[in-house]
């Protein structure tokens, strides 16, 4: 079994998000980058499924050379080899097309991504790759089991879950529950340095979106504190002042 896991290089979850150049660019000063947490879940499940000689895991990232440390981290967690498409990730459409172009003539049985990247929160790449490759895509999965050529998958739906099966090649985006994120051990970190990381040049793709500006949420006014012994007042305020109940 050959699994391809798509990973994003994203700011650490504790990052304070600010912008520069008249709010047109994300301020990368002092930002630590990590493997997107959901992609780590996808990678961890891929490793579990291929453990014990049952297959191999390749990670793919669309990014410039600055993302190599993040790719090495994925190799340290346990991926066998890595591919970097040498381009700044313009938008999900661009990234998905690059991944699809790479994967189309390789024989990956399964492609996994995280449910979304924590920077642009698209949850777009998996379904777009699925469409480019004309294979099923299952979004926001919470469980993935493989039996021969058939996968049984639990996906989240509003107010519940859906259990689906898919036979043959597919792509899925993984959420919490699919696996516990693995932490690299010393042996993994050492071996990651020598695992293959192939750099491939991107294909040209037409532009479909362009981010022109960023905004940060408007600051809220100061909090109205209600004394603990008059807690019941809160219900009145929510009803008469905030008008939300």
């Amino acid at each position: 079994m050959k699994i391809l896991v798509c990973i994003s290089n994203v700011p650490d979850t504790t990052t304070k998000i600010t912008f520069t150049n008249d709010n047109t660019e994300f301020n990368t000063a002092g930002v630590q980058y990590i493997v997107n947490p959901y992609d780590e879940i996808a990678l961890s499940r891929a490793i579990e499924l291929t453990e014990g000689g049952k297959g191999t895991v390749t990670v793919i990232n669309v990014g410039e050379a600055s993302t190599d440390p993040t790719i090495r981290k994925a190799l340290a967690i346990g991926a066998d080899d890595a591919v970097r498409i040498n381009a700044a990730p313009r938008d999900a459409y661009f990234v998905a097309k690059q991944i699809a172009e790479y994967a189309k003539d390789k024989d990956f049985n399964i492609i996994l991504t995280g449910r979304e990247s924590i920077d642009y929160n698209g949850n777009q790449v998996a379904a777009m790759v699925g469409e480019f490759l004309d294979i099923p895509s299952i979004s926001i999965i919470k469980k993935l089991d493989i039996d021969g050529d058939t996968a049984t998958i639990e996906r989240e739906i509003e107010g519940g879950k859906e259990i689906v099966t898919v036979t043959g090649k597919f792509i899925a985006s993984c959420a919490e529950g699919t696996a516990e994120a693995k932490i690299p051990n010393m042996r993994g970190i050492m071996s990651a340095r020598t695992k293959p990381l192939n750099v491939i040049e991107p294909v040209a793709i037409e532009e479909v979106t362009k981010i022109t500006k960023y905004e940060t949420p408007a600051p809220r006014g100061t909090v109205k504190l209600i004394p603990a012994d008059q807690a019941a007042q809160l219900i009145d305020l929510l009803h008469t002042e905030a008008k939300v109940i």
């Binding site: 929160n121 698209g122 699925g130 959420a175 905004e215 940060t216 603990a228």
Partner: protein
Amino acid sequence: MSVLVYVEQAEGKFKKSVYEAVSYAKAIADQQSTNLTAISIGNVADAELKELGKYGASKVLNVNTDQLKTFVNQAYASVIAAAAEKENANIVVLSNSFSGKGLAPRIAVKLKAGLADGAVELPSADGKFAVKKTAFSGKAFAITELTSTNKVIALNPNAFGVKESSGDATIETFTADVKQSDLGTVIKDIVRATDKISLPDAELVVSAGRGLKGPENWGMIEELAGLLGAATACSKPVSDADWRPHSEHVGQTGIAISPNLYIAIGISGAIQHLAGVSSSKVIVVINKDPEAPFFKVADYGIVGDAFEIVPKLIEALKAHKA
């Protein structure tokens, strides 16, 4: 040119988020001086389809075939893209729901369209079609221009509101060829917790954290939520400890929500948690630590012990309802 909105049904009914998507799509159609067509897939009664007229759809395409009874994103995307072509629609709108997230990207690729997902406002009317969408897990917004001819927008729940407009919808049967290979995903079972309000759609949310000390203490949270008609949620440590299911985890690595009211009980307000809830309209924080960072983004706060405050709120709410 026209606008097409996909109206997602659940067991033959439309939810509020669907009427919201229709209202939003109608506003875009007005901006573009064109008409709004809705497309429904699955078994929905005519009366329910007619209802869409109230929110601005002038025509409803009804796809009701055995093959497409249950949601398969690959097949549904084919049908919606075919409908867009037939209607000469260059803008497709849908709800940024779990299903919408699996569908919108496939439609975008089929139509070679730019996709703005998590949209929170109408596109700019200056011809640039710039859509404000959430980014960095609620820590920011990205103004995204859809520069392609065709455009797809997935609207966040509770972002636009339901707006009625006068009008009647005509219903038309629509069929499109679906390839067998589009039906590769087979649904085996759907499990719905019918007595619970779904978190992403919820207008009111009661959430609790480690301050509750253990899963056995969630009774009062559920009672408070029940009285309010609210959904329940929790912080990451709580779902990590399996006190509550992962599906209740809100925050940067959980679900991002934007309800009208978010009540956080015993949650300190780590930056990752705030990211997922900061677009809530009104935030109430109950915490015994007056220094809890959550108070900085709250509208109302009570400094005190949850085990004393929550029962008081339950009592007050019962009195309020009586």
